[in-house]
Structures are given as structure tokens and as C-alpha cells.
């Protein structure tokens, strides 16, 4: 079990991500945030939990659904909003937008809007670690849809063959846009399909950050004992539409879960209940939320006052 202090610190990180995304949901309709947003409401525990277990500076890679990852790694709400508002002060000078957030100085090397494309990059980064004789674990997050891309299998094979220190984290919401797993998978289950490869295999409930942290720690332990890649499979529930700030239970392709079910699937509420159960005072949680909220609000406000990149930036950074 995690001790209370650690659980509180996780709560702090979770809440920061949640409030940042809730702010996007509110602000988005003002049409100033001109970037597609793939919100991770429901998925926060995976990035936050896994990154919590990684030494700081660890190299990570992700997808377009990267807000939780970016904030888990950097805590930098100011840069985050600056990038979403397309400002020069964003980590990508506004050129990246939501789908390409990265922060190499914090280890977050790249995220990408083409499904599956950062998986081999993570393997390459792990190869670089092995080349330098370090066993630092590189971590890559990807959706369940990415498993259907050939690049996934090629990457898994190479990493397993070379026993590279790379942790594959599959964030499985059972959906690729609006397509259900059953419409896309010709195999029994993702863990089953991966089982024959020379890698450690683990799984957990991605809606439960305590489980995420424990599974990740166990996996990192196995990886350090027997150097092989790790594969962690986490299921979670996507609360919102694929891209954009709305719910879409009325679209017809899936049912809205019951309120109790939604409570269970919400990683923030779930950790909240756990903390209360363990005797944390509601006011302590309230304080955490208030602090996070202030930070988020400041980030969003400052971003909107910040300047855009000057025209010369259009053709800067193409080549060195």
C-alpha cells in the first residue's frame, strides 16, 4: 500500500491534470485555443501513476492524448497553456500545439499525432541507454489502437530481441475514435497477443492510481532483476469524445455508464474516496484542489496575454 503522504502527492498531480483539462473544456468554446484537444479525462491515473514511479528525467514518449503525461512529467501548467494557446512561450513555441507537446529537458522527448509512431522512438532511446551501458528505463505510452499498427509489433520484437530497457504502457480504453475493440482485434486480448515475446507482462486497472503505481513498481522491479522490456496493460474509461471538449454519449456508439459506474471509473474521485477512507480531512483535499486551481487559472490567463511567435519563426527550427 502507498503511504498517506505519497497518496496525497499523487492526488495533487491528478488534480492538477484534471483541473487543467476541465479548464480547457470551459475555455475551448471561446475559440482562442486553436488546436485539436484529445482530452484524457478518465485516463489521468495511468500517466501520473507510471511517471510517479520513474526517476525524474527518465525519457518518456507519448501520443496526441498527452496532457496528463506532459503535466505529470513537467508540472508546467504555464508552458502547457501557452502551447495550447499557440504562444511563443509554449514548449514548442506554439508550433507544436496540443498534439506534439514535448519537454526533452524533462525527459519527455516526443509525442505524436500519427498513431504508433513514437513506439519505435522509445525503443531507439532505450537502445541509446543500452549503448551507454545505463539501464535507465525508457517509457512509452500508447493507446490500444496502436497495437494494430505494424510498427508496434516490429518495435516489440526488436526490443525483446535486444532485451532493451523499455517499458511499453498500453492505455486501453477499448476505443479507437468510435471503433470498439471487437471491431479491430483479431486476437483474444492484448496481453495474450504479447505473451510470446521476451518481455515482462503486467496489467492493472488504469482507473485506480494505487493499482497503477503498484503494478508499475512491480514491473520496474522485474525489469531490473531480469533485463527485458516490460509491457503494462491498463484499461480505463474515456469520459469524453475522442477529440474535443464534449461528452458524446448521445452519439450512439456506446452507452453511458451508470452514475455509480462513472464514480468507479473516475480516477480522481476514486483516489479521493480512498484518502477520505484513510482519514484525510476533506479540507486537506480542498486545499490541494484550490492550489491546483489557482495554478491552472494563472497558466491559462497568462498564456492568453503572451505574444505569438514572430513571422521569422515560420522557417526557424526546420534544420539546425
Amino acid at each position: 500500500m502507498l503511504d498517506k503522504k505519497e497518496a496525497l502527492s499523487l492526488y495533487q498531480k491528478l488534480v492538477l491534470v484534471r483541473l487543467a483539462e476541465e479548464t480547457i473544456r470551459e475555455e475551448y468554446f471561446k475559440d482562442e485555443m486553436k488546436t485539436p484537444v484529445h482530452l484524457g479525462i478518465g485516463a489521468e491515473a495511468i500517466s501520473v501513476g507510471v511517471c510517479h514511479c520513474l526517476p525524474s528525467g527518465t525519457k518518456t514518449f507519448g501520443t496526441y492524448r498527452n496532457h496528463a503525461l506532459y503535466l505529470a512529467v513537467t508540472g508546467d501548467t504555464d508552458g502547457f497553456f501557452a502551447e495550447l494557446y499557440g504562444r511563443l512561450s509554449g514548449p514548442g513555441k506554439g508550433k507544436a500545439g496540443s498534439m506534439h507537446l514535448c519537454a526533452p529537458e524533462h525527459g519527455l522527448m516526443a509525442t505524436s499525432a500519427v498513431v504508433g509512431t513514437t513506439i519505435p522512438l522509445a525503443v531507439g532511446a532505450a537502445l541509446a541507454n543500452a549503448y551507454r551501458k545505463t539501464s535507465d528505463v525508457v517509457t512509452v505510452f500508447f493507446g490500444d489502437g496502436a497495437v494494430e499498427e505494424g510498427a508496434f509489433w516490429e518495435s516489440l520484437n526488436f526490443a525483446s530481441l535486444k532485451r532493451l530497457p523499455v517499458l511499453f504502457v498500453c492505455e486501453d480504453n477499448g476505443l479507437a475514435i468510435h471503433a470498439h475493440a471487437r471491431e479491430r482485434r483479431g486476437f483474444r486480448s492484448i496481453p495474450d497477443a504479447v505473451r510470446a515475446f521476451e518481455c515482462h507482462l503486467g496489467a492493472g486497472d488504469g482507473s485506480d492510481i494505487v493499482d497503477v503505481v503498484q503494478s508499475t513498481r512491480a514491473m520496474l522491479g522485474q525489469m531490473s532483476q531480469e533485463p527485458k522490456p516490460g509491457f503494462l496493460h491498463f484499461t480505463y474509461f474515456r469520459f469524453l469524445e475522442h477529440v474535443g471538449p464534449r461528452e458524446d454519449f448521445d452519439a450512439g456508439y456506446r452507452e453511458k455508464p451508470s452514475p455509480q459506474e462513472l464514480e468507479r471509473l473516475d480516477p480522481v474521485r476514486r483516489l479521493e474516496r480512498e484518502l477520505l477512507r484513510r482519514g484525510v480531512a476533506p479540507s486537506a483535499l480542498e486545499t490541494i484542489r484550490a492550489e491546483a486551481s489557482a495554478k491552472v487559472r494563472r497558466g491559462a490567463e497568462e498564456a492568453q496575454k503572451a505574444p505569438f511567435a514572430p513571422p521569422a519563426e515560420l522557417t526557424t527550427d526546420v534544420w539546425t
Binding site: Y28, K95, S112, T315
Partner: protein, 348 residues
């Protein structure tokens, strides 16, 4: 029977699919998102309802293999229409496209025919950015054995898509996202043939040779230039391969000035081919070198101010024409140009 009606580009695409599927049971449509409730921005709507899930279905995320599947079905006598929501994703399928699809007929001594259409949407706006904004028509056209179509009007969306589906060669059909909302009259009985450019507007001052969305920008530019007495001719290329050199060259030989406004990067793009063809076909007639317009030499940035600069537009065309003709710059301050936020914003 009256078969002319006003419809959007998206509706015209849809109508072409419906008509072909009605007339030929070997035509089917597949690809990511074709059968969900959004239906590729509406262009595949009603296909599941009309023709069943066997003739319109989604796939796993596997662009490479799915393209091979389309090819395998095509050489087996079906007529697949394989759809991609962004042209960028075709890069995942380049091996099948450039090493297989383009060769297989030749390698079989002409025994195989490949009646296959790859539809792909050219994304733009609201931060589509570097990985959701490519067109790449010149890249595909480089491989002998492929045909490449870049429709602009609803009539062409309809007519050229039907012609592409009926063609016995692999056709890559690239649809600009912004054109989806454009309305125009569509004559259902008007047949279209691949390999014919269209003169969209006649003029004597300069020929603008345009692809896809650039035709819309060119028309706007023409309207503004016309007010000061400069009449430009607009040639819509329509099909990159086969290329209608004659229409292009004869227009430029008349106007003796040419701006190539291609919807892609300039360097080693289709715009270079056009400039080369015109340089050859209009040698001695051109009063000034061909001027090439296209994307800025950079990946497409997300932030709107830079994105605005990334794309060539009506103002860029106007400035190029003025430069070619040695005219003073028109005051554009009072003009209103296309802004996609009037059509769509946020997630799409």
C-alpha cells in the same frame, strides 16, 4: 428528369459513391471511420444503411496492410474505394503504393488490372499541424502506374470520383477538407474524364495554374484584380496524372505570364513539374519566368499566425501577379478573405 442540383462537395462525393455502388456490386468502401457516425465528414453517409456493412466497413489501424488488402481485392476483380481521413497517413502505405500498386500490372505483363481508388482528405486549419496537413499529390504522381486526382468543385468531386472508380488503374483521389463545405451545381449526367484540365475563368493578363484549394484562392484573387482591370485566366489542373499539358501550355502561350499556385511544398513538388512543362511548352513566349507559389519550406505549424503565413492565399497570388506584371500593390485592407472559422472550429 432533372439531374442538376445544388449540393456541397461532401454531398457530391457521397452521391458519386452511392451511384457507383448502385450500378456496380463490385464497388465497396472501406477504411477507418467510414462507418462511424461521423462518416468521413459526411462523405460516406448512408452507405452502410443502403448497402450493408459488407460494402461499407471500418478496419483496424493498419494502413500498410489495408492498402495491400485493397490491392489484393482489386486484382481479384472487386473495385475497392479505400478511404483515409488524412493524406499524411498514406505515408504508412507507401510501400504498397510505390512498390506494389504501381508495378503489379506491369510485372504481370498486363494480366492484372487494378481498379482501385485511394481517397484521402487533405487536412487544414485549427492546428492540423505537421502530421495532418499534407497533400503529396506530386509524390504519388512520380510513380508511373498511378493516377492522381485533385478535384476542386462539387461537379468534379462527383464526376471525377465516378470516373476514378470506373478507371481500371489505381487512382489516388485527394480531397481538401475546406472544399467539403463548398456548394455548387452538380449535373448527375455529366461524365468526367481523367486527364482534362478546366479553365475556370478566362483572362488575358496572366495564367494561374492551380490545384485543389488554390483554385478557390485564385478566384478570389481574380475578383480583386479584375476590379483594377487585370483579368487573370485560371486553369484548374484537376488530374495530376494524366496531366493535360495542352490546356495549360496553350493558356500560358496566350497570356504569356504564369503563376503556378500548387497546394503543396514547392521544392521537388508538382509545382516544379508544372514550371518545367510550361518552361518547355511556352519557351520564347513567356515574358517573365514562371512564378511558383506553395507552402512555406517548413513543416506546417500549429499556431494560427504562423499557419496563415505557411499557406499561399489570395493575397499571395495577387502580389505574385502584380510582381509579374510590374504593377503597384493593390490596397487589400478593405477585402475580406476566407477564414475557416466561419465554417468549422474546434474538434473535427
Amino acid at each position: 428528369m432533372d439531374v442538376k442540383s445544388l449540393m456541397t462537395f461532401r454531398e457530391a462525393l457521397n452521391l458519386a459513391l452511392v451511384r457507383e455502388m448502385e450500378e456496380d456490386p463490385s464497388v465497396f468502401v472501406f477504411g477507418l471511420d467510414v462507418a462511424d457516425h461521423k462518416r468521413i465528414f459526411g462523405s460516406t453517409q448512408n452507405l452502410v444503411e443502403k448497402f450493408g456493412t459488407e460494402r461499407c466497413f471500418g478496419t483496424p489501424l493498419s494502413e500498410d496492410a489495408m492498402t495491400g488488402v485493397a490491392l489484393g481485392a482489386a486484382i481479384s476483380g472487386l473495385r475497392p474505394v479505400h478511404v483515409h481521413i488524412r493524406a499524411d497517413f498514406l505515408l504508412l502505405a507507401m510501400n504498397q503504393i510505390g512498390n506494389m500498386m504501381s508495378n503489379l500490372r506491369y510485372m504481370s505483363g498486363g494480366k492484372l488490372t487494378i481498379p482501385l481508388v485511394l481517397r484521402a482528405v487533405i487536412g487544414r486549419g485549427w492546428g492540423q499541424s505537421a502530421q495532418h496537413s499534407k497533400s503529396l499529390h506530386g509524390i504519388f504522381a512520380h510513380f508511373p502506374g498511378l493516377k492522381v486526382v485533385v478535384p476542386t468543385t462539387p461537379q468534379d468531386a462527383y464526376g471525377l470520383l465516378r470516373a476514378s472508380i470506373r478507371d481500371d488503374n489505381p487512382v489516388i483521389f485527394l480531397e481538401h477538407r475546406w472544399l467539403y463545405d463548398i456548394s455548387g451545381e452538380v449535373d448527375e449526367n455529366e461524365a468526367a474524364a481523367l486527364g482534362q484540365a478546366a479553365v475556370r475563368r478566362e483572362g488575358d493578363a496572366v495564367t494561374l495554374v492551380c490545384t485543389s484549394w488554390m483554385n478557390v484562392e485564385a478566384l478570389k484573387a481574380a475578383e480583386i484584380l479584375s476590379r483594377r482591370g487585370v483579368e487573370v485566366e485560371i486553369v484548374d489542373v484537376r488530374t495530376v496524372t494524366p496531366l493535360d499539358e495542352e490546356t495549360i501550355v496553350s493558356s500560358v502561350n496566350r497570356t504569356r505570364h504564369c503563376v503556378v499556385a500548387d497546394y503543396d511544398w514547392i521544392f521537388c513538388g508538382f509545382g516544379a513539374e508544372l514550371a518545367a512543362v510550361i518552361g518547355q511548352g511556352c519557351f520564347g513566349r513567356l515574358k517573365r519566368p514562371v512564378e511558383r507559389l506553395g507552402f512555406a519550406p517548413a513543416p506546417c505549424p500549429t499556431t494560427r499566425p504562423l499557419e496563415n503565413l505557411f499557406y499561399p492565399s489570395a493575397p499571395t497570388i495577387i502580389r505574385a501577379v502584380e510582381k509579374l506584371l510590374g504593377l503597384a500593390e493593390t490596397d487589400l485592407r478593405g477585402e475580406s478573405f476566407y477564414s475557416y472559422e466561419q465554417r468549422f472550429k474546434g474538434p473535427f
